[in-house]
């Protein structure tokens, strides 16, 4: 029996370069930076070595009601904002709640809530620790809140695989629909970790760019002078739907989610396999899953975080999976614009990859002044790249996470 075909029928996002999908897409084509110097008092108070980040361009508290926001960690607030947009965009009006599921990822979860509660405990004692603390800090908070908001009763899942989480959520959604456990799955990822502690922790491991005097030029994937990633925040959400369900309601279909895969490096807790072997296996598995040949692939939204050690193995993996055809593939490193949204990045980048296929246009990479000669990819810079106007085309979205997690999705035109 053929596996059920899964299509993408709704998109939502709140990011450093746009508080909704139309704004995100417009800016991604234009090439803007969402990074800026942080004005919070804690930057100076704790002498943070990194003094900038890419904040969500529209605070979630501007979109949600005060009472709603009060009961949600910022990560969950972003998730609900993005999921509502995706749901509205899908046009689904009625659905059997037992056939609607959620797979909403996060890398860290409710870190603001956890640390605020610890501060409260130490300063004011246990009685002042808010009763909502536990549901707000739990990493399944975003998935649970989206499930509650949409009435999704077929299950609410939380893939947690660091910076691969958002893309792994796509994989989980795909499997749920293929297995017949749901007809529609709202998938996504959310992160809100621009807090002094995670900034200090990522700085300690030398992962963050310290270009404090040039925040907008700090995220520069593939550039010879790249020196670390820029912390971003926000959420992305996609409505995945069984094709027959989408066709029956006459839905607007953006693209097919053709293949997904997840592998593990089993190599090192933080360093990527230098040859990108785990990433290669993930790429090949996603292509096999979607019956995709290298020649079908026209675009890659790369993980490309702008760290000295991370960008190169991804090139090796792409070369191994696509061979000489890689020279023809347009690669976009959208973290150059919005920074690294950690557990949300794979979801937001899946939104961008879907739009790239739908509009046949690949978004731009900024700050690539001197491309690393060891990474000879065909990178989209300056203007968006036109993808082939005719015929079936495929794009890949890669995400990799600390722990050796590799997740890849393949998105095909319909």
């Amino acid at each position: 029996m053929m596996a059920r075909k899964v299509v993408i029928t709704g998109l939502g996002a709140t990011t450093p370069i746009g508080g909704d999908v139309p704004t995100l897409w417009e800016n991604a084509l234009k090439g803007v930076s969402g990074a800026a110097t942080l004005t919070d008092s804690w930057v100076e108070e704790y002498h943070l070595p990194v003094t900038f980040a890419a904040r969500a361009s529209v605070p979630a508290t501007d979109v949600l009601s005060r009472v709603e926001a009060k009961r949600m960690d910022p990560s969950t607030q972003f998730a609900v904002v993005a999921a509502r947009e995706a749901w509205k965009d899908s046009g689904i009006e009625e659905i059997d709640r037992n056939k609607l599921a959620v797979a909403f990822a996060t890398g860290i979860g409710g870190v603001w809530t956890l640390l605020d509660a610890w501060d409260t405990l130490r300063e004011k004692g246990p009685r002042r620790v808010l009763p909502m603390t536990v549901p707000m800090l739990m990493p399944n908070g975003p998935a649970a809140a989206v499930s509650l908001d949409l009435g999704a009763a077929a299950g609410a899942h939380t893939p947690v695989s660091a910076c691969a989480s958002g893309t792994e959520a796509m994989h989980v959604g795909m499997e749920l629909i293929r297995a017949g456990k749901a007809d529609v799955v709202v998938v996504g990822g959310a992160e809100a970790a621009i807090h002094p502690m995670p900034i200090a922790a990522f700085s300690s491991m030398q992962a963050l760019s310290r270009s404090n005097d040039n925040p907008q030029g700090a995220s520069r994937p593939y550039d010879i002078d790249r020196n670390g990633f820029v912390m971003g925040e926000g959420a992305g959400a996609l409505v995945l739907e069984a094709e027959e369900h989408a066709l029956a309601r006459g839905a607007r279909i953006y693209a097919e989610l053709a293949g997904t895969s997840v592998t593990a490096d089993a190599y090192h807790i933080t360093a990527p396999d230098p040859q990108g072997l785990g990433a290669t296996r993930a790429l090949k598995a996603a292509m096999f899953d979607g019956l995709i040949q290298p020649e079908d692939v026209v675009h890659v939204n790369a993980h490309a975080t702008s760290t000295p050690v991370g960008d190169k193995p991804e090139y090796s993996a792409l070369k191994a999976a696509l061979g000489d055809h890689l020279d023809n593939v347009w690669v976009s490193a959208t973290k150059s614009q919005m920074g690294h949204l950690l557990g949300a990045s794979g979801a937001v980048e899946s939104v961008l990859t879907t739009l790239a296929i739908y509009h046949r246009l690949a978004p731009v990479t900024i700050n690539l002044d001197n491309q690393d000669p060891d990474i000879p990819l065909k990178v989209v810079t300056g203007e968006p790249a036109k993808l082939p106007a005719e015929g079936s085309i495929v794009a890949l979205n890669n995400s990799f996470g600390f722990g050796g997690h590799n997740a890849v999705v393949a998105i095909r035109s319909v």
């Binding site: 009601s65 005060r66 009472v67 009060k70 009685r127 002042r128 808010l130 009763p131 909502m132 549901p135």
Partner: protein
């Protein structure tokens, strides 16, 4: 020490901040759960806020007896006395 009216008004502000309910809906005869649809988590938040605002102690085991807004107002008034 606050009057009953002042305690009711102060409590209504706390309920509004926590739940978004109109302060005018917070009346003495209203049940927190039946009429105002306040869940146990919100109730605990309201209790702690009220302790701060009125400088009283409301023991956890007492909270289940505060079924109506009036019960809470009267408890706070008595605790202040």
């Amino acid at each position: 020490m606050a009057s009953t009216e002042e305690i009711l008004a102060g409590l209504a502000e706390i309920v509004n901040a926590e739940t978004g309910l109109d302060v005018a809906d917070v009346q003495m005869d209203k049940s927190f759960t039946e009429d105002l649809d306040i869940d146990s988590i919100s109730m605990m938040t309201i209790v702690v806020e009220a302790e701060d605002k009125f400088e009283v102690k409301i023991p956890d085991e007492e909270v289940k007896n505060l079924k109506t807004v009036g019960d809470a107002v009267n408890f706070i008034a008595a605790a202040q006395a």
